[in-house]
């Protein structure tokens, strides 16, 4: 299955992913229209500056997702095949159990309705909006083995560079 991988060393903290995410989850799906919408479009990916590093946080769609377990009403559900955790706003009662058990802190609040919002990995798109928007390829949407292969290749290139010099 494809996952969104994060390459921490590549993130420059430009927050393009946050913007793209909010636009993607607006009604109009266009930046110039989205900014006037109510409820205000909300990002589901968060870039944090921690001790000089920039780290994008987005839902890891955990295999054994604590948020799904904690959800009383079944608003959060996990696809049995893709393991994507989706949130049904109709069933959400705004109790914040999911936010309290999430180890990554990636469940946000839709301020107007006071219910949870979280990454749904852009069901309407081939590639999630945040990945597409990332200028530095800090976010990668790929298969797990392809990602490790990529990292391996990069590492060997780096190593060879030093060797040749």
């Amino acid at each position: 299955m494809k996952e969104v991988f994060v390459r921490l060393d590549r993130c420059i903290g430009c927050r393009s992913c946050e913007l793209a995410c909010a636009v993607e989850h607006s009604q109009a799906k266009k930046l110039e229209l989205a900014i006037h919408e109510t409820p205000k479009p909300k990002r589901r990916v968060y870039v944090e500056y921690i001790a000089g590093r920039k780290i994008p946080f987005l839902c890891r769609h955990c295999e054994d997702a604590p948020c799904v377990k904690a959800c009383r009403t079944g608003a959060l559900s996990q696809d049995p095949v893709t393991r994507v955790v989706t949130h049904d706003p109709k069933k959400c009662i705004g109790c914040w159990m999911c936010a309290m058990v999430c180890p990554y802190g990636v469940i946000g609040e839709e301020a107007e309705r006071r219910i949870a919002v979280k990454c749904d990995r852009c069901p309407d798109r081939e590639i999630p909006a945040c990945v597409e928007a990332c200028r530095t390829n800090a976010l990668v949407y790929t298969e797990e083995n392809e990602f490790s292969e990529m990292v391996r290749k990069e590492a060997i290139t780096e190593y060879l560079k030093g060797y040749i010099q």
Partner: protein
């Protein structure tokens, strides 16, 4: 940003300070219960849901939101039927003597004065916090990727 009573369950040391403080503040009946299992403990109290089942189920409209979006019970309208106790997804409403429901009112008397609810004030380990979801989640994210770990 609306501030809420949120729980950092991993911090709970099941000391029950919240229960004692809550009982003192609300005339002897604690509205928060510390639940413990072998590996974790956490305080259970009303989550003040936005779509609150207890409000929907109450046919007398005795349960409502106050100015700060906390779910409160109007004791004068309540008949003690126990529907809210059964409807609550968290078991946070208990019926006490003479079938009066007892549930967290988010320390309405303190919060309206600009203070913090008593359980969040007294929690020695900082397991109960009174802050916005935004701030809470940010704290979670930052502590997840703290530098030394």
């Amino acid at each position: 940003m609306k501030r809420l009573l949120l729980i950092r369950a991993e911090r709970c040391i099941r000391c029950r300070a919240c229960e004692v403080a809550c009982a003192r503040e609300h005339g002897g009946q604690s509205r928060i219960t510390v639940v413990e299992t072998e590996c974790i403990a956490w305080p259970v109290s009303c989550r003040h849901c936005k779509v609150a089942p207890c409000i929907h189920v109450c046919y007398r409209e005795a349960i409502r939101y106050d100015e700060r979006d906390m779910v409160i019970i109007d004791e004068n309208l309540c008949t003690g039927c126990g529907l809210c106790e059964l409807a609550c997804p968290f078991g946070a409403i208990t019926m006490v003597e003479k079938q009066k429901p007892s549930k967290c009112d988010g320390c309405q008397h303190l919060v309206l004065d600009g203070k913090t609810p008593i359980c969040a004030l007294t929690c020695p380990s900082g397991a109960i916090v009174y802050e916005s979801i935004e701030a809470y989640e940010k704290q979670t994210r930052i502590s997840f990727f703290s530098p030394v770990r």
